[in-house]
């Protein structure tokens, strides 16, 4: 196995945070992968001016799509493959095969589970009377503990397993994690959202009860229409009408 100096791995990790800096509709985060992997490619025979470096950098900057937090898995595995001189055609096939799973697993775990979970926890802290620093601190600390650890794990596992990294995606946290996080988020949301609404709306049990009652009816309607409407657009429309009404009356 190729051992990279700590400063190179640290540079790759830091660049991972900027993976999507050149995200575009042509290569998605392909150029980002090239950008992140570049410090490691300098260790190829011939260095930065060598043909191996140039060929590898070009190859790694082509189309790629993955969840940004799990892209480290691909970056690590591809780095190892390049440094071990794996045949280019095999690297290309591996890139193609890895992109889909890294996207869907990451979307499920992070965007559809971890982020909403951290949001409802922070909303709950607000509902319980948390200060601005307490609410924001709770959210950022909780969210980024998961975020930064996931990126670090991805890079480490990719570098250590190389092209055999696919089995790492069977990790229980990635497979069952979203389900458990969803249950916890739903439980907390049941308490947190009404508590926060109570604090925003002001004192009064009757008002809080009425708000929750009307909101539950609205949620049921929105749940029925879930694939056909976007809730935030409805909120925008209703709010625009309400503001207009309040101004002209």
């Amino acid at each position: 196995m190729v051992r990279l100096p700590l400063r190179v791995r640290a540079a790759m990790y830091f660049r991972l945070l900027a993976l999507q800096g050149s995200w575009n509709y042509e290569t998605l985060n392909g150029t980002g992968i090239g950008f992140v992997i570049e410090p490691a490619l300098r260790h190829l025979p011939g260095g930065i001016d060598g043909p191996a470096y140039r060929a590898a950098l070009a190859r790694q900057s082509r189309y790629f799509n993955a969840h940004p937090y799990l892209a480290g898995v691909a970056v690590g595995a591809l780095t190892r493959a390049e440094l071990e001189g794996v045949e280019p055609a095999r690297i290309e096939r591996f890139r193609t095969a890895l992109a889909g799973p890294l996207g869907s697993v990451g979307d499920r775990l992070v965007w559809a589970s971890w982020l909403p979970f951290c949001s409802v926890v922070a909303i709950g802290v607000y509902g319980l009377g948390g200060s601005p620093l307490g609410v924001v601190g709770t959210f950022l600390l909780l969210y980024n503990t998961g975020h930064l650890l996931l990126r670090a794990w991805g890079l480490r596992i990719g570098l250590s397993r190389g092209l055999n990294v696919a089995s790492a995606l069977g990790n229980p946290v990635l497979r069952q994690g979203p389900q458990y996080i969803a249950c916890a988020a739903a439980l907390i949301a049941g308490m947190a959202v009404p508590l926060a609404l109570q604090r925003v709306a002001g004192p009064g049990r009757a008002l809080a009860g009425a708000i929750i009652g009307v909101a539950l009816v609205g949620i049921l309607v929105l749940a029925k229409l879930r694939e056909r409407v976007e809730g935030w657009r409805i909120a925008l429309g209703v709010l625009a009408v309400f503001v207009l009404y309040s101004v002209i009356t």
Partner: protein, 227 residues
Amino acid sequence: MNLLQALPIAMLGGLLGLDVVSFPQAMISRPIVAATVAGAFIGHSNAGLLIGVVLEMIALDTLPFGASRYPEWGSAGVVGGVLFAMQPLGSRGALPASILAALLTASISGWSMVVLRRIIASRLERARDRIEEGSRNALISLHLTGMSMDLLRGALVTLVAMIIFAPIVKAIVAVWGSDSAPSRAVVVVLAAVVAGGALWKVYHSVRHIVWFFLAGLIAWTLLLVRP
């Protein structure tokens, strides 16, 4: 609000807008953070937090999946936070008007991200031959230019939104006709409906999820009816 007053806020909007996609995606761009920081920026963090919580509930409906188009909450959170915190404490209509401005900003800013991605793609097209030859400079230049343009995009959106919406929100608050309590109730109901619908959208396939939500709701009810 004049240009000189809006510039520092625009810089904050640019920084937090950068976090949405480009760097470092640490979710400092979520409205609960962005609006609170923006409120604190002008000395009213509690007001920023209040509108941030409402916007956060609405933002749950638009999670940033892959290449989908979604509102950009970093700059919008800053705009909403500053606009609400600028109004006198307890102003009727300040919350709905500021949220409306923030939602419009989020929508326009989301569109600006699409434009930016197209611009980066056209720059890539021009640099493609050099990148295909393995040019380090071409790749790094493309990447850093993309990030710089994203920073500028967020700052510009925030600046324009502040200049347009600050006088409008002030005028709305001045002529607001509805009572204060119903105004907040409308906002709160909307936020709750969107948040509930959003959580259902992402979690509906998880077994027994409704029971977990109901258990939480019962816990809240017990808190509410306690003597």
